[in-house]
């Protein structure tokens, strides 16, 4: 599996010459990239202009002046710090626990042989592929049934509580992570854990001190991906949290729309602020992001 990622590049036989074909290729690629970036750049441009400017001259015009006022306004009116905090409370625990639980399952099925190994792995993989809507109605009802102490959730049930959203993220996302991690762990030589066992290491030590450190690269890749996915979640929070004040930032966008009515510049600024964390993660950890997706799709 890793072999596909790190194969030495095929030697280039031809010398690089500037041929018309190459020029055409680069022109095409540059145009495609610009078109891909256009919606984002357009949003940036709109967000930097004032409402007065665009309402008089229209959006398709040269800006009279550029300003960051919209960002400041969106930050305050949209109460973004509050919603970022809600997201943080959901994303970080969900991310950590998902990786922990899936690495346990992956360790179990890849290191030990049971009759139901494959079945277990299939259960998790299939679970992750289900459309969320298949689960959502009974889940919503189930959450109303599960009682939790009031210091965890003011509603007394898992509805309207970050804990509820965290739990479904863990349950749902562990499917993908288990699949990827178990594939990776199978590439670790069995002799390693066997030697550790002969030396008297307990199962937990084989997992925690031997296998997990070896999985660091793939854990990093999964963490990057899962951060983006959990951060971007819209549906779970929309259904399971009915108190608008407790929504994570992605679902709270819906509230911002009402607040901002027709001021598209403000909406653009708000959208970009909400996109910012994932964009930063993408730019800083692009290799992990791409690697994680590749690992999840191909094997062997």
């Amino acid at each position: 599996m890793t072999a596909t990622l790190e194969r030495p590049s095929v030697p280039v036989v031809k010398k690089r010459v500037v041929t018309p074909a190459r020029v055409a290729l680069h022109t095409f690629l540059i145009l495609t990239c610009l078109m891909t970036l256009a919606p984002l750049l357009w949003a940036v441009y709109a967000s930097l202009r004032t409402y007065e400017d665009t309402s008089v001259n229209g959006y398709f015009s040269v800006a009279k002046s550029l300003t960051f006022d919209n960002f400041a306004k969106a930050w305050e009116i949209g109460e973004l710090p509050h919603f970022y905090w809600n997201t943080f409370l959901i994303t970080i625990p969900a991310l950590v626990i998902t990786l922990l639980l899936s690495s346990m399952i992956a360790f179990g099925v890849s290191r030990f042989s049971f009759k139901f190994n494959l079945l277990l792995l299939m259960l998790f993989t299939a679970g992750n592929l289900l459309p969320q809507q298949v689960i959502v109605t009974p889940l919503w009802r189930l959450y109303r049934l599960i009682e939790v102490p009031e210091w965890i959730s003011a509603s007394g049930s898992l509805i309207d509580s970050p804990l509820g959203v965290v739990l479904i993220h863990i349950a749902f996302q562990s499917g993908f992570c288990t699949f990827v991690l178990s594939n990776y762990m199978k590439t670790i030589p069995y002799e390693l854990t066997e030697a550790a066992r002969v030396d008297g290491a307990s199962v937990f030590r084989q997992y925690w001190q031997l296998t997990l450190p070896l999985c660091r690269p793939v854990l990093a890749a999964l963490a990057t991906l899962e951060f983006t996915w959990i951060y971007n979640d819209f549906l779970w929070a929309l259904v399971l949290i009915q108190d608008g004040d407790k929504m994570p930032v992605t679902s709270a966008l819906q509230n911002l729309k009402g607040t901002f009515f027709t001021d598209n510049n403000l909406i653009a600024a708000g959208s970009l602020l909400v996109a910012l964390p994932t964009l930063v993660v993408f730019f800083v950890l692009q290799r992990q992001f791409v690697g994680g997706l590749t690992l999840g799709s191909t094997k062997g």
């Binding site: 990622l5 030495p8 590049s9 030697p11 280039v12 290729l25 095409f28 690629l29 495609t32 990239c33 891909t36 919606p39 357009w42 709109a46 229209g58 959006y59 398709f60 639980l101 899936s102 346990m104 179990g108 099925v109 030990f112 042989s113 494959l118 277990l120 792995l121 299939a126 679970g127 592929l129 289900l130 969320q132 809507q133 298949v134 689960i135 109605t137 009974p138 889940l139 009802r141 863990i170 349950a171 199962v203 983006t228 971007n232 819209f234 549906l235 009915q242 679902s251 966008l253 819906q254 598209n264 909406i267 653009a268 996109a275 993408f282 730019f283 791409v290 590749t294 799709s297 191909t298």
Partner: protein, 319 residues
């Protein structure tokens, strides 16, 4: 260019899988180890089954009932296949939703797949700035579909939106999102914008895993680049094609955020997923009917999920 001298390393082991003398062994474990292992497997499985598979079965069960979801379980009235009959014959939003989901699927299968494949083929060679191109093309992938909806609304708004201005339709603006004849396609372009990068990524990985020797052999036999691609490379990438197919189908069935953000999935943007969620967060909660729609979604997706599982795990059975 030192790369010229570099021979592809390790030609021999490439073809044959790494030797594996011993698979995982069933070994006698000490008592505590058994317990620890049991917990390590048991806890995650419990969480996953409780919150994913039990609700799935719940949807199936509830699809045969009439229930408002608020009262206790004793209020559930079992009505057999009544919900399904009603959905297929009377429910006015069902068939448009099916149609929209189908259009969604076909569109995603054609546009982003072709675009992603083409870009992957173009980028899967030594060209300057390949990484920069890739970064730009991947970028929409990290945005949530909800955000994509917001960002594209700036392009589609009738008054002063980018699209109408570029097309010179400012005097006679087209309402890309409000017009129920075209809004589905407008939204699909936005969805495809985000999906293309993912498909490109999958195909790039697939192309890298194709043995270069195959292409060389085809070239030696006098095949043109196009022939080599369609007759050799593309068929060899069958596993990737299946993954692309499954990913796209699932994506099409899940589609929800973007239409919900734009107009809550009404007026030309009805989707099956919207019909399900409307019963919980919408005005009328008819749990039974919503669950029946969910089961229809489940049935369609199961076919593809099983295909995927077969594709991915059949290798395992052979070893």
């Amino acid at each position: 260019m030192t790369a010229l001298q570099e021979k592809p390393k390790a030609v021999a082991p490439q073809g044959s899988p790494p030797r594996r003398r011993r698979g995982p062994r069933a070994t006698a474990l000490a008592g505590t180890d058994k317990l620890v292992l049991g917990l390590m497997l048991g806890i995650p499985t419990f969480v996953h089954v409780l919150f994913v598979w039990i609700p799935t079965l719940g949807s199936v069960a509830l699809s045969f009932s009439r229930w408002n979801g608020i009262g206790g379980f004793e209020d559930i009235e079992w009505i057999g296949v009544g919900n399904y009959v009603e959905i297929f014959t009377e429910y006015p939003r069902f068939w448009p939703a099916v149609q929209h989901n189908l259009i969604w699927l076909v569109f995603l299968l054609i546009v982003p797949t072709c675009a992603g494949l083409l870009l992957a083929v173009l980028l899967d060679r030594e060209i300057k700035g390949s990484r920069i191109y890739q970064s730009a093309l991947y970028m929409p992938m990290v945005l949530s579909l909800a955000l994509v909806g917001f960002i594209w609304q700036l392009i589609y708004t009738p008054d002063g939106g980018l699209l109408n201005s570029v097309l010179g339709l400012t005097d006679n603006p087209v309402d890309w999102i409000g017009d129920s004849d075209i809004n589905l396609y407008a939204v699909l372009v936005a969805a495809a914008w985000r999906h293309t990068g993912y498909i490109m990524l999958l195909y790039l990985a697939g192309l890298k895993s194709v043995d270069p020797a195959l292409k060389e052999a085809a070239a030696l036999d006098g095949a043109s680049a196009t022939q080599t691609f369609f007759r050799v490379t593309f068929p060899v990438m069958k596993p990737v094609n299946i993954v692309v197919l499954v990913v796209t189908v699932i994506e099409a069935l899940r589609a929800f955020d973007i239409v919900y953000v734009i107009n809550k999935g009404r007026n030309g943007l009805e989707l099956l997923s919207v019909l399900v969620t409307d019963n919980i967060i919408g005005e009328a909660s008819r749990i039974g009917r919503g669950s029946a729609v969910a089961v229809i979604l489940l049935t369609i997706s199961l076919g593809f999920i099983i295909t995927y599982l077969y594709q991915v795990f059949s290798k395992e059975n052979r070893t």
